[in-house]
Symmetry: C2
Subunit: 195 residues, 2 copies
């Protein structure tokens, strides 16, 4: 998705060989027009799969997730990173380790909103170590629902997540795949290439 | 906004005389079409104020916030509830006490994304005790920017927040104003009435 890649090239800040900061349009400030285009692109790629829900994790997944849900004409559900006082009965949980934040979060979703008749599109901002995506897959399975596919805004293809998540057999679509952040520079993977 | 009021009547769960749960369309599951209509309504009410940014707080403010930003054709910024490892330099913070969660959060925003030339529309899901809105106002003031207005999805008019926030002199627009949750029933304030 060229619009996204151009944005990453123009505004992404390479903090190290593994960390890309995109706070100007995705993770802190959000570009609503870009989110809308991302939503349209996810809908285009997954439109024939009978999706009934989009599931993401707070907070950075919500903006691309709500746009994908809008375009697919289904509800969005956002998993919470810790239990809320007003979310108690029928809560499904999974543990997710964040390498970025070096902490374990319990992500949770109410069984009211993901059920056995659902075909769920998972959406997240980044795919790096794959822990968040695997946690979301686990939530969907526990709910007795089906994973229809996984839509990722930015995949860091040089990390393990893409391989781990694709090994589950689910279809993963990443709108920008980054091959390397070496030498302070973003290098995208060639379209269609699978490392 | 009747679409929203109807949704609250149909799906809102009154947990007590002060707590309304709207997890089916705003706080956990999100209705993207409703969020789009909410975004349009905020844009309609605030369109002539020269707004340059929409500012909200993660997580439940993001969906209505991104739709308002889309309609106003400006970026969204979401304040974080705790400091991130990759957000350090130039961080503006304010303390916000949550009565719902009974804890104090430090909300933060990068000074990169709210500056002295900005006219900021604050958007949040609920106005109850007003602490979140006052925290957002404080962030904008610290950044040297101007508050153009405050857009609230659901105001619990029987709590102090509306009065506290209106006393600051800023324009507050709430799309649904709830006068009472007594006897397990949602009673809306009459349009135009100010208690």
């Amino acid at each position: 998705m060229n619009l996204l890649k151009n944005k990453i090239e123009d505004e992404g800040v390479v903090l190290s060989g593994t960390v890309l900061k995109v706070d100007s349009f995705l993770n802190h400030q959000v570009d609503p027009e870009l989110m809308m285009e991302i939503g349209k692109e996810f809908a285009r790629r997954f439109k024939d799969l009978g999706i009934t829900k989009v599931l993401t994790i707070e907070s950075s997944g919500i903006a691309p997730g709500v746009m994908a849900a809008l375009q697919l004409n289904v509800p969005l559900v956002f998993a919470r990173k810790r239990k809320s006082l007003t979310l108690s009965e029928g809560v499904i949980t999974s543990k997710v380790y964040s390498y970025t934040k070096q902490e374990e979060n319990t992500i949770s979703v109410s069984s009211k909103y993901i059920g056995e008749n659902d075909r769920v599109l998972l959406v997240d901002d980044f795919l790096a170590n794959g822990q968040a995506a695997l946690g979301l897959i686990d939530l969907v399975k526990q709910a007795g629902a089906n994973v229809a596919g996984i839509g990722i805004v930015i995949e860091k293809s040089f990390q393990d997540g893409g391989k781990l998540v694709r090994e589950t057999g689910y279809r993963v679509e990443s709108l920008a795949e980054i091959q390397s952040l070496e030498n302070g520079k973003v290098t995208f993977k060639q379209e269609g290439a699978r490392v």
